[in-house]
């Protein structure tokens, strides 16, 4: 991947120029789906954009010293990590990539939730600290399953290169591969903090969790990073599930359509479920889904030794 393609992927497609409107669109789809499921009409189409611009125009409480600097830095770091993760997705055929970009993508996907944890603790609000502690416990639980699922897919395809992974899987999909995709899908509600795993930002329960002390442009950046996380996480499933297509415009359209389907599925799940308690959530990931993830990775490794 040379510099021009890297910049084009980061800034144009599937990077910022596509990802920011897509983030707002997905946030709207989430709110609209919940509204429709509750028998309401819901927010207008441009609502996340209005919210973003309005938040940019609000003031922030004065903060001094390193604490204030850190609180300003976390949302920016989260936005850039999420945007980088979207830019790495191998949406277009033969779009480049490099050996091991899967590992970079996983690290970038994990960074926003690290930032949320750090932000809650550096805000020094009691609600922020509770939210951060919950986010940390949640992250330890779902990440084991999430990482095992992705490693099992990568091990069964003998590569850590995203593009090779996506195209090889499309050519000869195995049941093991789909088991891995399903495991990733189960982890997404926890990764995106939506019901039934909306523990860290549990509204009405611990105010706004780690975001309690954030206001104005910083809160706008958190909203944007949340939207970009939606694009990156659903995009990961979309690229893994998409068939291999030669025409770039067809590949882009299939990517958008599949992402939309995943967003719709997650929003319907969120609207239809209530928030689980933290111990139930941790038990769910450690006891129920971990077994499948371990099965997937052990069979992947076994098949690898056999071949």
């Amino acid at each position: 991947m040379n510099l021009t393609t890297a910049l084009a992927r980061l800034l144009i497609f599937p990077g910022l120029l596509f990802a920011v409107p897509a983030a707002w669109f997905f946030l709207w789809v989430e709110r609209k789906t919940v509204a429709l499921m509750q028998g309401r009409i819901g927010p207008p189409f441009m609502q996340p954009f209005y919210d973003f611009i309005k938040l940019l125009g609000k003031s922030t409480p004065p903060r001094n010293g390193v604490g204030g600097l850190l609180m300003m830095m976390w949302p920016l770091l989260a936005v850039s990590a999420a945007a980088g993760a979207v830019g790495l997705l191998p949406v277009l055929p033969s779009s480049g990539g490099f050996e091991g970009d899967l590992i970079l993508l996983l690290a970038l996907l994990e960074l926003p939730s690290m930032c949320v944890i750090a932000a809650g603790f550096s805000s020094r609000s009691i609600f922020g600290e509770i939210g951060s502690a919950r986010e940390a416990a949640l992250s330890v639980s779902y990440n084991v399953v999430f990482l095992l699922a992705i490693v099992s897919i990568a091990a069964s395809q003998h590569t850590f290169r995203l593009e090779a992974l996506a195209s090889a899987a499309a050519d000869r999909p195995s049941s093991l591969y789909w088991l891995g995709v399903l495991a990733i899908l189960v982890c997404l509600p926890a990764k995106l903090h939506i019901n039934p795993f909306s523990l860290p930002n549990a509204e009405q329960e611990i105010y706004s969790g780690p975001m309690t002390e954030y206001a104005g442009p910083e809160l706008a950046m958190w909203e944007l990073s949340h939207g970009l996380e939606w694009v990156a996480a659903t995009g990961l499933v979309a690229t893994l599930a998409a068939p291999h297509l030669a025409a770039w415009w067809l590949a882009a359209m299939v990517f958008v359509a599949l992402s939309f389907v995943v967003v719709l599925l997650l929003s319907v799940t969120a609207a239809a479920t209530a928030r689980l308690q933290i111990d139930t959530t941790v038990r769910f990931y450690w006891q129920c889904t971990l077994i499948f993830a371990v099965l997937a990775i052990s069979s992947a490794l076994f098949m690898r030794f056999k071949s």
Binding site: R31, A35, Q38, G39, R40, I41, G42, P43, P44, M46, Q47, F49, Y50, D51, I53, K54, L56, G57, K58, S59, T60, P61, F127, E203, Q204, I206, Y207, S208, M211, T212, E213, Y214, A215, G216, L219
Partner: protein, 177 residues
């Protein structure tokens, strides 16, 4: 007014986030505020969101006749809401202290302590009156930005049902059999 300011004004009017505070209310107005977010009235159509933290809010909704104990809390929360901000006093209590007038436990009405933009009278006010009050506050917020309010606005009793009919008609017709 340049383009950015016009866009900001447009977005502020369409994205009022509320923080609800009780200053000793009997819970009647609080229930009506929640009712305005339910499927029948669906205030989210106007971009309204009930926020958990005062830091996120644009509009502070205060119910209750302002007891001695709640005065400091009101001032603290008013300070925690980041500008530009507006205050909506919901019900007759924060406007006049209502039936609790001359009580020795009260320190009302509300505008003795913080500047109020919109009064929504009623005991309790109807949810559509509350929605109209919030929409009016969002309009005021968009126009005046960071300045302090000059004078308060009163939502007239009885008129609100007609004025908000457009916004809620569809929602109501969907719910009714």
């Amino acid at each position: 007014m340049n383009l950015w300011n016009r866009l900001m004004c447009y977005c502020r009017r369409r994205s009022p986030w509320l923080f609800h505070m009780n200053s000793g209310s009997c819970n009647g107005c609080d229930i009506e505020l929640v009712a305005s977010l339910t499927p029948r009235y669906d205030a989210e159509q106007l971009g309204v969101r009930l926020e958990g933290s005062p830091r996120h809010a644009d509009i502070l909704c205060i119910t209750g006749p302002v007891t001695h104990n709640s005065v400091e809390a009101i001032k603290t929360v008013y300070g925690q809401v980041c500008g530009p901000k507006a205050v909506v006093a919901i019900g007759s209590c924060p406007a006049t202290t209502n039936v609790f007038i001359d009580s020795r436990t009260l320190d009302g009405p509300l505008n003795r302590h913080i500047p109020v933009d919109v009064f929504v009278p009623g005991c309790p006010p109807r949810p559509d009156a509350i929605i109209q009050g919030v929409a009016k506050a969002a309009e005021i917020l968009a126009e005046r930005g960071n300045q302090l309010p000059v004078e308060s606005v009163m939502v007239p009793i009885g008129e609100s049902a007609c004025a908000c009919a457009d916004a809620t008609q569809h929602a109501v017709s969907e719910v009714q059999p």
